[in-house]
Symmetry: C5
Subunit: 333 residues, 5 copies
Amino acid sequence: MKTEKPSITLLEYDSTGISEIRFDSIEESRNFTRSREKIWLNVYGLHDPAIMAEIGRRFRLHPLIQEDILNTQQRPKVDEFAEYLYLVARYFDYDAPARCLTSDQISIVLGRNFVLTFQERATGAFEPVRERLRAETGAMRAHGPDYLAYALIDTLVDRYFIMLDHLSDLAEELEESALTRPTPSLLAEINRVKHEARSMRRAVWPLREVLNTLSRADNDFFTADTRLYLRDIYDHTVHVLESLESVRDLLADLLDIYLSSVSNRLNTEVRILTVLTTLFMPATLIAGIFGMNFHEMPLLADADGFWVAMGLMGGAAAFMAASFWRRNWLKTQ
Amino acid sequence: MKTEKPSITLLEYDSTGISEIRFDSIEESRNFTRSREKIWLNVYGLHDPAIMAEIGRRFRLHPLIQEDILNTQQRPKVDEFAEYLYLVARYFDYDAPARCLTSDQISIVLGRNFVLTFQERATGAFEPVRERLRAETGAMRAHGPDYLAYALIDTLVDRYFIMLDHLSDLAEELEESALTRPTPSLLAEINRVKHEARSMRRAVWPLREVLNTLSRADNDFFTADTRLYLRDIYDHTVHVLESLESVRDLLADLLDIYLSSVSNRLNTEVRILTVLTTLFMPATLIAGIFGMNFHEMPLLADADGFWVAMGLMGGAAAFMAASFWRRNWLKTQ
Amino acid sequence: MKTEKPSITLLEYDSTGISEIRFDSIEESRNFTRSREKIWLNVYGLHDPAIMAEIGRRFRLHPLIQEDILNTQQRPKVDEFAEYLYLVARYFDYDAPARCLTSDQISIVLGRNFVLTFQERATGAFEPVRERLRAETGAMRAHGPDYLAYALIDTLVDRYFIMLDHLSDLAEELEESALTRPTPSLLAEINRVKHEARSMRRAVWPLREVLNTLSRADNDFFTADTRLYLRDIYDHTVHVLESLESVRDLLADLLDIYLSSVSNRLNTEVRILTVLTTLFMPATLIAGIFGMNFHEMPLLADADGFWVAMGLMGGAAAFMAASFWRRNWLKTQ
Amino acid sequence: MKTEKPSITLLEYDSTGISEIRFDSIEESRNFTRSREKIWLNVYGLHDPAIMAEIGRRFRLHPLIQEDILNTQQRPKVDEFAEYLYLVARYFDYDAPARCLTSDQISIVLGRNFVLTFQERATGAFEPVRERLRAETGAMRAHGPDYLAYALIDTLVDRYFIMLDHLSDLAEELEESALTRPTPSLLAEINRVKHEARSMRRAVWPLREVLNTLSRADNDFFTADTRLYLRDIYDHTVHVLESLESVRDLLADLLDIYLSSVSNRLNTEVRILTVLTTLFMPATLIAGIFGMNFHEMPLLADADGFWVAMGLMGGAAAFMAASFWRRNWLKTQ
Amino acid sequence: MKTEKPSITLLEYDSTGISEIRFDSIEESRNFTRSREKIWLNVYGLHDPAIMAEIGRRFRLHPLIQEDILNTQQRPKVDEFAEYLYLVARYFDYDAPARCLTSDQISIVLGRNFVLTFQERATGAFEPVRERLRAETGAMRAHGPDYLAYALIDTLVDRYFIMLDHLSDLAEELEESALTRPTPSLLAEINRVKHEARSMRRAVWPLREVLNTLSRADNDFFTADTRLYLRDIYDHTVHVLESLESVRDLLADLLDIYLSSVSNRLNTEVRILTVLTTLFMPATLIAGIFGMNFHEMPLLADADGFWVAMGLMGGAAAFMAASFWRRNWLKTQ
């Protein structure tokens, strides 16, 4: 799903309506003149530096910001400039066949009357927000671009809960396996999921800080009312982080369960060895005794001496088996 | 105990008396007119959004608050608005047959002259407070709604101590099992209780912060006198958290005890194997020696040669047994 | 040592002298009239609520304080009121036969010219302070009640050092056992001592905070000079906490030593099994070989064939033993 | 690559051009007169104290600074003086043959119109910056010495990412080995890489603090514009530290994988022992039984008695093998 | 090296010169009259309370300070009084034969024109400072007593680096032993070194805080210039603490290496047992088979039947050995 060709979409809107334009190249966009108050410009595909340069020039983005947008391994953060806020966050997706999480960097630039969003791949992350903007009632169009920015972040954070569910499901499957089928590859699997929980935490933790700052501090870009909503997503990120902690604790517990299953299996194996050895040893000794070449030995000449010997063997084995039975050693689990 | 039908109870009270009304539907409540100074409205069952909408409109609750009340997985918190405080906490219950804790979200809205409480199920959490309100002496009715809110939170926190006792009891039972009957399922059990201690901690920790804020900061909703009482519950939450830490440490220690019991069991098994093997080996060798076919061998022709051989076997076994006895290997524990 | 009957002692003192009165009931005390400037009222036994109520009324103690004094599982803390400071701390004692620590709650109320102390049992904790008050020189009587309160807390903190010594002694004994006699019950013992170190830490940690607050903040109850002394006990509590950390680290290390001793024991057992098995196996094989029934076999007809076979067995065993000797396997430690 | 002879390079530059001089001895430099506004003096090799003394006198460096420059085991830090800032950081390099990181101390002194850099060895760390200064366009020459200092630090921090890649590669190789070839030397290897991650963390953590301070605080040495760039490297150091945390977590996980691989190998070995023992035991018993010397025994006189016995042995072994097969014990992995 | 008799040395100095006096008793010192501006009084041996009392009276030391000087288990700290600063730190020494660290309390009282130092034993800790004071150039005598105090602390901190080297050397030796000769006593040794690293950390950590306070805060006792030097030792203590962290991590890693070596040794032993058992088992079975008493058996009557049987035994053993060879089981490491 690597974006072959960059794709630029422009949504103009105000309380009276909305219009959408899609540019196939950055040249097309040059002739465009603005007709509505608020703009949302979305860019998929960051490998053409000309696009970034053009947008940077139009919206007067600082060179450092342009660099950060193109470098898709940024840590979530917010940078405040006189004309705009620059915010980085991460969008997470679950790759069901590979059973792992993938993540994409989302850059959001919030100006007085515009929102710019940038990402490498067309993930469809923002589709729900687009639908709400296009909605007949237009409730969302009445709000400023700060509310749009809020809605975009909210969409990202909502996804984190879904990702948490995936991680929990994975952890539960692994627990089941650790209890019943402990194999070394399971350990690598546990560590892989731990690694994903960790990388998700690395995306959410700084975002929490960003939201805390934005929702508390007085700034020009978010109205007091929208800040209430930011506070709400802040609460959600705290919740996500706590749940991630739980998932990590669960995974750490899994390691204990795994190691303990391996130990138990060793115990079982040693026990089987012991039981079998001791069942056969007395019998082997008895056979050896009656195989001795003494000229005078009891029983040898008896007609049913052989069967007496067999009986002794059986009896010894039965006695041993009974004593193991009392200790519950005969069930292998 | 899932609430089939939402149930709305209204308590009006002032220092002179108290009246209780139960509405079967939200429509009924529309005709109600207020007759006393202070109101406590309690709602069980949150699945009918119409009720929430109606109450929200009457008491002018912010849409975000309404949403938070309905989303019953909130983290405990307090949000201060101009007209009211919104507070979320969790009520814990012990499910004896399943030997685990259950929890319900409690939402409390405290206004100048009203308290609203919301929860999904009719847990009876607030029954003691109702009794105190109805009491003849009316000491509690003389206080403002802030004291009622305090009393409600106090009831929740008192329960935490009972839950702690349940967790400690579970931990002690598990310790007993870990020392005497270490089975892999025990480990899963230990992790389950750890998980519950963790989820309880997640409910109490933020509540502690909430109470700290409310008891220190100057706000319009709690009088200085009630704040002293809040400080007192704050101390209780600190105490609960410390005890939870102790329970968690105990459970972590349990893991060590469990793993060590498993190790000891392995040692015991190997020891039994060693003892039995070495008791039979010399005897088997002696039998083998006298089973050799040399034409000239000592003892073979002796009349009591056989018994000499048996004596050698018994002697070797006795010697081995004695040397194990000195090492205390013969007791299996 | 459970107090059968509450016991109330009143010490009145000023720089000129001291008088002591012991009340057998709360009624007796009603007729008492004060004759000296400073008062120290001590109560042993808290199960009679009438006493608390009477004292509470006389000294105008807030209902919450009265409740806290009776609830003997409080966390150490200080509450400042207009007329007095309320301080909770814990007294520790070492129960030599049971080899464990016990603790009692001490409540201290410091007013402008009085000190009240409450505890469940007559532990004798404050006897040294009483002696100093009664002393001829009267140096202590010249100080205000704040200095008395300091002296009381100082007595408690000094005991913590003695308790630390007991814990260290226990830890050292356990280390000795872990190295030489690792048994599962030892692990339970280690965890018990860990638990006690933990509970002591829970008593000292908040007291440290209390002393930090009292020694720094400006308040009416402690003079600047006494605050210097509080600072000194504050330093002591920090020292106690660091030493407790050390004890806890030692105990955590003990677990490693214990587990490693168990592992080493397993190694030793497996080694003994291996040595014995391999000493007997070649001999058994040789016996088996000469027990075969081939018509033509070497040595069988030789006069000293039997002794050659025995020599082979001994030689094989000696060879095996020598190779184990070189590996240092023959010493069981 | 130990610098045999100290080497001093002087770059003078302003927006109009750049001139470079290389001094072979400190005497040569005495006759030098400055011709351009900004100076960058770089010294390789710190073992000649005369050089340091001369430079210290010329640029009036505080004796403590001179000492710190010569002591190449400093912790990264910044010291602010009236005339200059003194900054210490570390340059990391990867020694491919030895598969380990090496590090060198870099001292940077930033004055109003000069930058001094000192390091023990000529690592080529700053070559990219020199190239940018010499570039035709001269964009960099237009900036003040603060921007030069930023560029130097930026070069160091960029290298940290390359070092991270090396560490990750090492960790992955070790994981592969831990899963398939667990040897004790691997553990020493894991600890060595952990040690290097730790030493890198010790270099980056304080640098992060330095950059945080410089980018936030108002000081005379960095313009507001350059501080934006410092903020950017600050973000990079945060990123490096988080990635280092991940590497360390990975290495800690490796230990678990290693120990678990060793355990699994033990299980496998015990299993093989058990399987082989139990395959041969019943056969040995049967052989013993038919080797007994009873006068009357079944089968002995039968023509195909021998083959019946062999069949019994084979049958017993096959039965045992089949029961192990069902347990999946016959595959050694 | 316990000081038998207290020893009091007085150094008077100013920029023009220095004079040293040694008092054998406190009485002698009474007749002394001061002749130079700055004084350094050093006391070895604290068991004679009369000395402390006399000095305390002369320099008007607060009773608490006198008590702290005599109690040689203080935590490092600084107490500021109107007339002087009281500072406690620890001097560390390495006891080469016992391979462990020892430590002594150093008390320093810094007044406007005097420095007092107290320690239990004559460790020679301050000899280098005395040399510098006596030096011809007299650079140090020109500074105030605050610089003397700095020089004394600096000497202590410099020693910490030497102690660190000793700890690192011990850790490396232990690592070597853990890899090649894992014995239970090694674990006790590892824990002992951990314990020493811990006790050193307990001495350095609070000193760091003390130096941070002194170097930052404005106080009358240290000039701004000396504070720069204190800042420098502060940096050193940070460095020491970080290195101590590294040593502790190394020691924690050692435990893993030790436990893993023990595990590997168990694996080796089990492997040897398995190899030997399986080499002898088939041969024993073959001998048993040809020892059976069937009337008709193949090979028995053949002239070289015996050698065929021996060949079978050898072949089976060789086959087994070859299969172990392929698995690399025959090398015991």
